[in-house]
Subunit: 239 residues, 2 copies
Amino acid sequence: MPRGTFYGVGVGPGDPELLTLKAVKVLQAAEVVVAPQAGRGKESLAYDIARQHLHGGCRLLKLDFPMTRNKELLEKSWEQASARIERFLQRGETVVFLTLGDPMLYSTYIVLFKRLSARGYAVQTVPGVPSFCAAAAAAGFPLGEGEEKLAIVPWSGCRGKPLAAFLQGFDSAVIMKAAGELSPILKELGEAGFLQNAVLVSKCGHPDERIERELSALSRTRAPYFSLILARGKEVSRA
Amino acid sequence: MPRGTFYGVGVGPGDPELLTLKAVKVLQAAEVVVAPQAGRGKESLAYDIARQHLHGGCRLLKLDFPMTRNKELLEKSWEQASARIERFLQRGETVVFLTLGDPMLYSTYIVLFKRLSARGYAVQTVPGVPSFCAAAAAAGFPLGEGEEKLAIVPWSGCRGKPLAAFLQGFDSAVIMKAAGELSPILKELGEAGFLQNAVLVSKCGHPDERIERELSALSRTRAPYFSLILARGKEVSRA
């Protein structure tokens, strides 16, 4: 029985022009596109970017992925999503999972990629421009030069250990998912020596993009959902 | 006097289909493209990717950037490059600097970006797909999931301190510029606990792309110029 291919396509960070030619080609041939719903409008953005490249007969499959730390709930939602996608693949259809940024960086795609490859389906990943590269371009903030070391750190992954412990020896850092209350992040960036040269980029590539360069003035502020911080420490490479 | 804009355009890691729509648009309007020459065919690859999108009247400016640690030589080559680009900008022409991967990640573009912005020229950066995202897609190797922390480390930046010192607390790593003799890299990856789950990707997206999954078998091998290693350590996030 012929089986369809499962694609994970990075649609870039938000600006529809940051789609790659390859992503456009895969979208144009898609029979089913999967738009993950993690709440807060995330899903509609990836679909909005993709929509203009889909043909009229392409179906949209919306899948719910709850924002929870409950392992059982997560496992259940992943299994349901896999099962729904497999039904299309078993009919030989091409299914495209849309992901903002790059599929191999912090995307729900990774879970489905692992499951469906393990079950013998053909899986192809089309890389995309990550949010932090677009933010660096928009803010004019070099991420790494020459021999510099760059740490990519989701803020939620830093519980229990100060940021300074992770950033020691690194020249620059991307703090992903810097949404919500900024004061604890700014405090730890300051202690790590990464606050003097830092920039907050929110909703990069969207019409309401915001770039803030005076981070110390933001300590009583909450950052919106799509926010990240780019930061550089004191010169360590030459030390 | 009207002045031209200086663009830094990421053409992606090697596969011409990984150009973004925005990069194509900027290339189509370019009056001058700059292809940096760092030796070993690096320059021709970025230009080869861009070439088909340039109009007939677009001029090519080849600039030499010596592969040296000599600060004076580097400074001289950077100043000469800036001066040559400025001549075009002062005539109001659009100059596009081509860069493999993303312009804000380990590109010579960063030096020119800093100089020309400081001198008051309009500078625009178009982000691209970094080599490590394309390598992760090709190898089916997730770079970061959930709260995982990712270290981007050029091998040449790790002198004097073992890799293990940088990777402690990180879940995954990209070792950039892993060209040449592999045994010292593999030894240090092993000591950091990152060798069991690692993959070497050379010339990603090129016709002679190579993906090696048995790294311990490669200790007597030399990796070609465009090589990087993706590696995961033991589970640290949940510890």
